[in-house]
């Protein structure tokens, strides 16, 4: 398929490790969390039994949750630190271009126009997922904390916080699960141009060709000699 000397480095080791950890943690949290939300179903019973009972499942869920919280805070701290000291670009920050890109893409899908949006380092779908997991994660961490320490939380705050946190935790978790299962897995595994799956997040490498196709603006910065060719065309690389 792709030759090594054709590949471009897209993700550094830090990104790759972080993704791998989040992936495992997300799977564990869903595995131990969803059966608690859907406690009526037979599958939930089986999962809980296999994992050694509800007390064990909750313990595992809480420990994994604490790990997730730690990772999230560490990630945010390093990103904010890097941004503050100017060592990081703001490539993940959504802007007006992302909304325009989304509309352009929808128009393209609906065949209203044949113009395809040209993305920079991260396209609007990637940004949506990233911020989804950051904000969703913060909601999960906050509500999870309330559910883990209900006595401490209700010392100052009204008791209704706890059932509200429970509803939010379960619903937000379900939504995150559905988004990942449907949207993320489609985009990185089942989308026809990607199938049978992109390995970029694990190896860090992306083929020059995919890079040119999926992130033309960043590619143009990387290879200025091809910039004119890429930025000039409207519907690039359709074989």
């Amino acid at each position: 398929m792709t030759h090594n000397n054709d590949d471009v480095v897209r993700f550094g080791p830090r990104d790759r490790v972080e993704h791998l950890l989040v992936m495992v943690i997300f799977f564990l949290l869903a595995l131990t969390g969803l059966p608690q939300k859907f406690h009526d179903s037979a599958i939930s019973r089986n999962i809980v039994d296999v994992l050694g009972g509800i007390a064990q499942v909750r313990y595992l869920h809480r420990m994994t949750g604490v790990l997730f919280a730690g990772m999230t805070f560490l990630h945010l701290a390093t990103v904010l630190g890097a941004v503050a000291t100017g060592r990081s670009s703001l490539s993940m920050v959504p802007g007006i271009k992302d909304f325009r890109d989304a509309i352009t893409t929808l128009r393209y899908y609906l065949r209203i126009s044949d113009v395809r949006a040209q993305f920079d380092r991260f396209d609007y779908k990637e940004k949506f997922e990233y911020w989804g997991i950051v904000f969703g994660g913060l909601i999960m961490i906050g509500t999870g904390f309330a559910l883990l320490y209900p006595i401490a939380v209700t010392r100052r705050l009204p008791g209704q916080i706890i059932p509200a946190a429970k509803v939010a935790h379960g619903s937000e978790g379900l939504m995150a699960f559905l988004v990942v299962i449907l949207w993320h897995i489609y985009n990185v595994v089942f989308a026809p141009e990607i199938f049978p799956g992109s390995t970029t997040i694990f190896t860090g490498k992306i083929s020059r060709e995919r890079m040119r196709h999926e992130h033309p603006l960043e590619y143009a910065r990387m290879f200025p000699e091809e910039a004119n060719e890429i930025l000039g065309q409207k519907d690039p690389s359709r074989e």
Binding site: Q36, H39, D40, R45, V48, G53, I54, A55, V57, L106, Y108, Y109, L110, R111, P150, I151, A152, T154, R155, L157, P158, G159, Q160, I161, I162, P163, A164, K166, V167, A168, S171, E172, L174, M175, L178, V179, L182, W183, Y186, A191, P192, E193, R238
Partner: protein, 399 residues
């Protein structure tokens, strides 16, 4: 006359086992009924009306004969037995020096549901004269020696008792453990649930303090004051024959379903304006979910598992939730929570929605959060699915 002769003399004819007792009854019926050929003669000779009349007469005769013969047999046998057992001084010497009374009051039988049975239907083997020689260690041994005879007819209930906590005590040699007759009585045996309050009184023979607590509960008061048919008596929760160990984990974990049997039944609860939502709201909250997964801790432990219905509402002392003595009454709730959550503040009880579904009035925050996700989940997930489908469609079109 023949009937009595059976019991007085013939050791060869009198049977050894209960099957023989059945055969004997059969013989007696045949002897007292008219011979079938007589019926045939009557039918063939007379006209239609006469025939009908004769038939009716014969039927009445047969009925009369069989019924009197059965009852007659029982009371005749009782007569024979009471020749000795009506004597108040009749006793049997036991191995430990005690003596067992052999005296039987005739009046006891008259009120019994078993008044049409023969003595030897239960006291099998005692139709021989003299009685077969038996040895009893003590009074308890003497009393329990007949406990097995109930199973001849009541086999299903007998086998159920083998799973009961009472039988467990008996098997371990507890002399106070109840056998069939301790609850049901022996010669004066009566319908156990007429009236229903009789059941509670029966259990109270041994379980006096609990019975007194029950009498003051919302269930007990309704039973004793109004003879309410819907409130549970002891056996409705604890069962009658296969009474489980109420401290066992399996039993504890089954209690929410047990309470739900009535409290989730709209027919029964409708009469009193009580919500049937109590079981559902319990199960969908923390405690109930834990309970529905079998509780915390090892399955073999007999330790407290999670808050079950009875942990907040009480067991035998269950009170009306609107009564100020109830542990779940608003003012008492925090104390009840602290039984398991020692540091709970006054805010804490509001974390539990008191079996209510969240509504704008009851729990606005919970209601709004729920509503928000009810709208946002289909919106986001639906939107993403739509994008996937459009993307696929455009890919196909491009080809």
């Amino acid at each position: 006359m023949t009937r009595i002769l059976f019991f007085v003399f013939p050791p060869d004819l009198a049977a050894k086992s209960t099957t023989a007792a059945a055969t004997r009854r059969h013989i007696l019926v045949r002897v007292s009924a008219p011979h079938p050929t007589i019926i045939w003669d009557l039918l063939s000779r007379a006209g239609a009306r006469r025939r009908l009349l004769a038939l009716g007469l014969v039927a009445a005769l047969v009925l009369l004969a069989t019924s009197t013969s059965a009852r007659g047999a029982a009371s005749d046998e009782a007569d024979a037995c009471l020749q000795c057992h009506a004597d108040e001084k009749a006793t049997l010497a036991l191995e430990n020096g005690e003596s067992a009374p052999l005296f039987m009051k005739r009046e006891l039988l008259a009120a019994s549901v078993h008044k049409n049975l023969r003595c030897t239907d239960c006291h099998a083997g005692f139709d021989r004269m003299p009685h077969p020689e038996r040895h009893y260690k003590d009074l308890n041994h003497f009393r329990t020696s007949l406990a097995e005879s109930c199973k001849t007819c009541h086999f299903e209930n007998y086998t159920k008792t083998l799973d009961s906590v009472h039988y467990g005590l008996q098997a371990r040699g507890d002399v106070f453990a109840p056998t069939c007759v301790k609850c049901h009585g022996s010669h004066d045996i009566a319908k156990p649930a007429e009236p229903r309050s009789r059941i509670s009184q029966t259990c109270a023979t041994c379980h006096r303090p609990i019975s007194e607590t029950y009498a003051k509960s919302v269930h007990g008061k309704a039973l004793l004051a109004d003879n309410n048919p819907d409130v549970p008596v002891c056996t409705d929760c604890h069962r009658s024959h296969n009474i489980a160990d109420p401290k066992s984990r399996a039993w504890l974990m089954s209690t929410p379903a047990l309470c739900g049997r009535c409290h989730a039944d709209p027919k029964r609860m409708g009469k009193y304006g009580l919500s049937t939502n109590v079981l559902g709201t319990y199960l969908s909250d923390f405690h109930g979910t834990t309970a529905s997964f079998g509780g915390k801790g090892k399955k073999t432990d007999n330790e407290p598992v999670v808050a079950l219905c009875v942990d907040c509402h009480g067991i035998h002392d269950i009170a009306k939730v609107t009564g100020d003595s109830a542990p779940v009454f608003r003012a008492n709730l925090v104390k009840t929570c602290r039984k398991c959550h020692p540091g709970a503040s006054d805010n804490f009880p509001a974390a539990w929605l008191s079996h209510y579904e969240p509504s704008l009035q009851r729990a606005p925050l919970v209601f709004l959060v729920k509503l928000f996700y009810k709208l946002i989940i289909p919106f986001i997930v639906g939107g993403l699915i739509l994008q996937i489908l459009l993307h696929l469609w455009r890919t196909v079109v491009n080809r």
